[in-house]
Amino acid sequence: MATAAPTAAGFQDCRNAWVATLEQLAEADPRIVAVVNDSVGSSKLNSFQKKFPDRLINVGIAEQVMVGVGAGLANGGRIPFVSAASCFLTGRALEQVKADIAYSSFNVKLVGQSSGIAYGELGATHHSIEDFAWLRPLTNLTIIVPADAWETAEAVKWAARHEGPVYLRLSRMPVPDLNIPDRQFRPGHAEIVHEGSDLAIIACGTTVHLAASAADLLKAEGIQARVLNFSTINPLDEAALHAAAATGAIVTVEEASIRGGLGGAVAEFTSANKPVPVERVGFPGFLPTGSTDWLFQEYGLSPEGIAAAAHRALARKA
C-alpha cells in the first residue's frame, strides 16, 4: 500500500504522532513494549524496532497469539502496546480481546491501525467498520478515537499512564489539526468543536473535521449546529449527550458501520433518556471496492452529506 503522506496543507498522518509519542514514552519507561503481527511497517514501528530491538515482539501473522501474548506481557509487568491493522486486531482476535484483555482486566493497550476504510480498495475483509459494534459491549475497555495528530499523541500518553485495557483506533488517512484553543485531553469528555443549539452533530476520528465544515455550510443557511468531537466511545460522555439531546435533533458521523457504533450508542442513550431524532451517517454494511476518498463521498461522509443529514434531522425535529 502506498503510504499516506500529508496531502492538503496542514493535513497530517496521525501515525507519526503515535510513533513519536510511543518512542518518547519508551525512553522514559522500560516497561513499555510493542507487540505486532508482521505489522512493523504498517504500524510505523521501524524506528522503535531499531531503538528497542528487545522490546518489539513480532509474533508473525498470528493475531490471536498476538493479543494473548499482550495479556501475558501485562501479567509479567510490562505495558504492551499491541499494534495491528484494526480489522484483524479486533476481528480475528475478538475472543482474546474479550476474555484475555477485557474480562481479565489486563493493562494492555490495543492500537488499531488503518481503521475504518483506510484500505478502501482491498475490500470488506480489510475494512474495519464493525469494531465499535463488537467492542462497545466490553464495558471496561476504554475506546478512544483521536480526531487529529495532537489528540493522537495525548491519547497515547494517557493510555500509557492509565491502568487498564484501552483500544486506540487510529487512522491512516491524513486529517487537519482541529486547532482548538487551550485544549486539554480529557478521556470520557466530548469536546465542543463548533457552538450551536439548533442541532448537535456528534462525530469521531477522521469525520470530526468534516462535521466542522458541515457546520460552516449550515451556518451560511442560518442553522447553528453544535459539533462535538466524541473521541471517547467507551465510556460515553452522558452530560454532553444530555446537552446534545436538548437541542432536539442529532446527527452522528463515524467512519464505521451505522449499526452498533457511535450512532448506535447515541440512539441507545437518547431512547432511554430523551427521545430525539438521530440521523446516523456511516456505512450500511459490506462495501464495494474503491478508494477511501470515493467511499467517503459515496456514503455521504462529506460536509455536504453531513449537512444533508442535518436537514433530515431538523425536518424530524418536534
Binding site: S39, G60, I61, A62, Q64, E121, H126
Partner: protein, 271 residues
C-alpha cells in the same frame, strides 16, 4: 492423462499472466506483485494442466476446487481466471476501481471461479478442508487444492485444519504452500520460523512433497498425480517476485508498485 505436451501451453499462460498482473498493478498503483509472481507458475500449472473445470459452468458440482487462501495475490488469481475463460479481458482494467468486480481480495458473490472469499490469512485451508469433507462423505469425485503463503502458515487456524484433514485422511485434499521464504515485512525464518515445515506436516498425517515451484514439469507431476491415502502437502519452493529481476527476493515488493520505468523494464524482461 497428464502428459508433458501441456507444458508449452502452461509456459505461454504463465507468461501472459505475469504481464497481465503487472499491468493491472501498474494501472491501479496498488496490489501485491511479489506474492503474485511467486504463485504464478503454480496457478498456471493448476488451471492449464491439472484442474477439471468449465468456465461456462462455474457451479458445476463435479468441478475440482481451487481455493486461493493467500487472497492478497489477486494479480495472480484474476489473471488465471481470465486466462481460463471465467471473465473477459476487458474487466481487467477495472482492478480495484470503484465498484469493480475485481476487488482487492477475491469475492465469490460477484466473481465466477472464486470458491470462497479470502483476504484475512489462514481462512482458505479450513474452508478447503470442509469442501474435501463434503467430497469424502458424498463420494464425489472432485479434488480440492488450496494455496497458502508461507508466512500465512503462522496462523494457528492452518494447524487446526491440518489436524482435522490428517485425522480424517482427506486424500482428496492437496495443500500447496508457496514457500518464498518472505512475508510482509521480512523473512519467515527471522520473524517466526516455520522450518522444518515438511516434518511438521508429516507429523500431522500428510504425504509431503517438495518441488521447485517454478518448474512446470515438476509441478505438473506432483499436482497431477492421483490421490493416495492421505492428504497431500506440496511445499513449492519459490522466489517472491519471480520473473522480474528487480523484484526477485526483495521483501518490499510484497505490496510495492512499479513506476513507469520499472513497468517498462519488467515488460522487456517478461518475454
Amino acid at each position: 492423462m497428464l502428459t508433458n505436451d501441456k507444458l508449452p501451453l502452461i509456459r505461454d499462460k504463465a507468461l501472459w499472466m505475469r504481464r497481465t498482473a503487472f499491468t493491472m498493478v501498474h494501472r491501479a498503483q496498488l496490489g501485491h506483485p511479489g506474492g503474485d509472481f511467486s504463485a504464478m507458475d503454480i496457478l498456471a500449472t493448476l488451471y492449464f494442466g491439472v484442474l477439471n473445470y468449465d468456465p461456462t459452468r462455474p457451479d458445476m458440482p463435479e468441478r475440482d476446487r481451487f481455493v486461493m487462501s493467500k487472497g492478497h495475490a489477486t494479480g495472480a488469481l484474476y489473471s488465471a481466471l481470465c486466462a481460463a475463460g471465467y471473465f473477459p479481458e476487458d474487466w481487467l482494467p477495472t482492478y480495484m476501481q470503484p465498484k469493480s468486480l475485481l476487488n482487492g481480495h477475491p469475492n465469490r458473490n460477484y466473481l465466477p471461479g472464486v470458491e470462497t472469499n479470502t483476504g484475512p490469512l489462514g481462512h482458505g485451508f479450513p474452508v478447503a478442508t470442509g469442501i474435501a469433507i463434503a467430497g469424502q462423505i458424498t463420494g464425489a469425485s472432485y479434488r480440492t487444492f488450496v494455496l497458502t503463503g508461507d508466512g500465512e502458515q503462522q496462523e494457528g487456524s492452518n494447524w487446526e485444519a491440518a489436524m482435522v484433514a490428517g485425522h480424517r485422511k482427506l486424500a482428496n485434499l492437496t495443500l500447496i504452500i508457496d514457500r518464498n521464504r518472505l512475508q510482509q515485512g521480512a523473512g519467515t525464518e527471522e520473524t517466526s520460523g516455520l522450518d522444518p515445515l515438511d516434518d511438521k506436516y508429516r507429523a500431522f498425517g500428510f504425504d509431503v512433497q517438495e518441488v521447485d515451484g517454478h518448474d512446470h514439469a515438476a509441478l505438473l507431476a506432483v499436482l497431477g498425480a492421483s490421490p493416495g491415502t492421505k492428504p497431500r502437502c506440496v511445499i513449492a519452493n519459490t522466489t517472491k517476485g519471480k520473473g522480474v529481476s528487480f523484484m526477485e527476493g526483495v521483501a518490499s515488493w510484497h505490496h510495492g508498485v512499479p513506476n513507469a520505468a520499472q513497468y517498462e523494464q519488467a515488460m522487456k524482461e517478461l518475454v
